[in-house]
Symmetry: C2
Subunit: 188 residues, 2 copies
C-alpha cells in the first residue's frame, strides 16, 4: 500500500490542482515535466481506470447524464482517498524520490512539499549522483587506454553531464538551506 507507481503519483499531483480530462492530463504531463515526453493513451487510460478502481479518483461526466447513451468527455477529479494518498507521498522523502525516473515528477511537486522534505530529497539525489560519478570515474581510469578517441569522448561527455547536474543540485540545496535559516540541517 505505501507507495504507488510514478504515473499514478504524477496524475494525482496534476489532478489536485484541478479536475481535468484524460486528454488534458496527457498534455500537462508533457509540458510540466521534461518537457520532453508524451505519454501514450495506451498507458494513460488504463492507468486512470486502475485509479478509479482503487478509489483514488472519480469522474464528473459532463454530458453523460444529459443525453442518454453517448460516451463523452470525462473530467476526472481526486477523491478524498486520492488526496490522502497524495499527501502521504508528498511527505515521503525515501529513495523512491531520488531515483532516476521519479525525481523529476517528485521535483515538479516541490511547491506542495515542506522545506525539510525538499532538502532531504535534493540531498538524497545529490548523494546518489555523486556515488555514480565516483564509480564511473574509477571504472574509467582502469580501462582508459582500451578506448578509442570517440568512446572516450562519449564517456567524458556523459560524466560532464552528470557533474553539471550535481552542480545544479548544489545550487538548489544551498538556496533551500539559506531559506530554511541557518546551518541547522545535517546531511548523511
Amino acid at each position: 500500500m505505501p507507495h504507488s507507481d510514478v504515473l499514478t503519483f504524477a496524475i494525482l499531483g496534476i489532478l489536485e490542482r484541478s479536475p481535468l480530462h484524460g486528454y488534458q492530463i496527457r498534455k500537462r504531463l508533457g509540458t510540466e515535466l521534461g518537457p520532453f515526453r508524451a505519454l501514450s493513451y495506451g498507458s494513460l487510460y488504463p492507468a486512470l481506470k486502475r485509479m478509479m478502481t482503487a478509489g483514488l479518483i472519480g469522474m464528473d461526466a459532463d454530458d453523460l447524464k444529459v443525453k442518454g447513451s453517448r460516451r463523452s468527455k470525462i473530467a476526472y477529479r481526486l477523491t478524498d482517498t486520492g488526496r490522502n494518498r497524495l499527501e502521504q507521498e508528498l511527505a515521503n522523502a525515501g529513495a523512491s524520490s531520488w531515483e532516476d525516473g521519479t525525481f523529476d515528477v517528485r521535483f515538479s511537486m516541490f511547491d506542495r512539499t515542506d522545506p525539510e522534505t525538499r532538502l532531504r530529497i535534493l540531498e538524497g539525489r545529490r548523494t546518489r549522483l555523486a556515488e555514480r560519478l565516483e564509480e564511473a570515474g574509477a571504472a574509467l581510469r582502469r580501462v582508459r587506454d582500451r578506448h578509442d578517441a570517440y568512446t572516450a569522448e562519449l564517456q567524458r561527455h556523459g560524466l560532464e553531464t552528470v557533474e553539471r547536474e550535481v552542480e545544479w543540485l548544489d545550487r538548489l540545496i544551498e538556496e533551500e538551506r539559506s531559506a530554511l535559516g541557518g546551518t541547522e540541517t545535517n546531511s548523511a
Copy 2:
C-alpha cells in the same frame, strides 16, 4: 531485414573487436556506453540466442568439447553474416542513428565509421535536438505563468541540458568538418 534492434547492433560492434563471453559482453556494454547502465542477463542471453538463430554469431565452446557433458564458458564470435550486417549498419546514416536510445551506441562505433557518415549522423542528431528545443521553448513561452517556481526551474534545467548537448555536437561537427578538409559538405 534492413536494420536490427539496438542491442543486436551493440553486441555486433563489441564482438567485432574480439570474441567474448556473455558475461564480458555485459561488462563492455556497461563501461563502453554511458557508463551508466547494466544490461540484465535476462535480456542479454535471449538476445545472444536470437543472434545465434539468425546466424549472426557462433560459439567457441571452451571446454565443452573436452569433458563430455558440462556446459561451461562460451565465447561468442561474429560469423561472416554478422560481420556483413555490422558493416551494412555502419554505413547507414539514417534516422535510426540519431534517435535517443540509439545515438550513443552508434557514436561508440565511430572509429569504424567513415568520416562522411560520421558527419551526417552528427548533423542529424543536432537537427533533431534543435527542433525539440524550439518546440519546447515555444510551448514553454505559452504557459510560463501557469507554473510555480520549481516547475519553471525544472524546465529551465531541462532546456539547458539539451542546449549543452547541441553545443557539444557543434564542437564535434566542426572538428569532423575541418578534418575532412574544406567547406565541402552541405547540411540539409
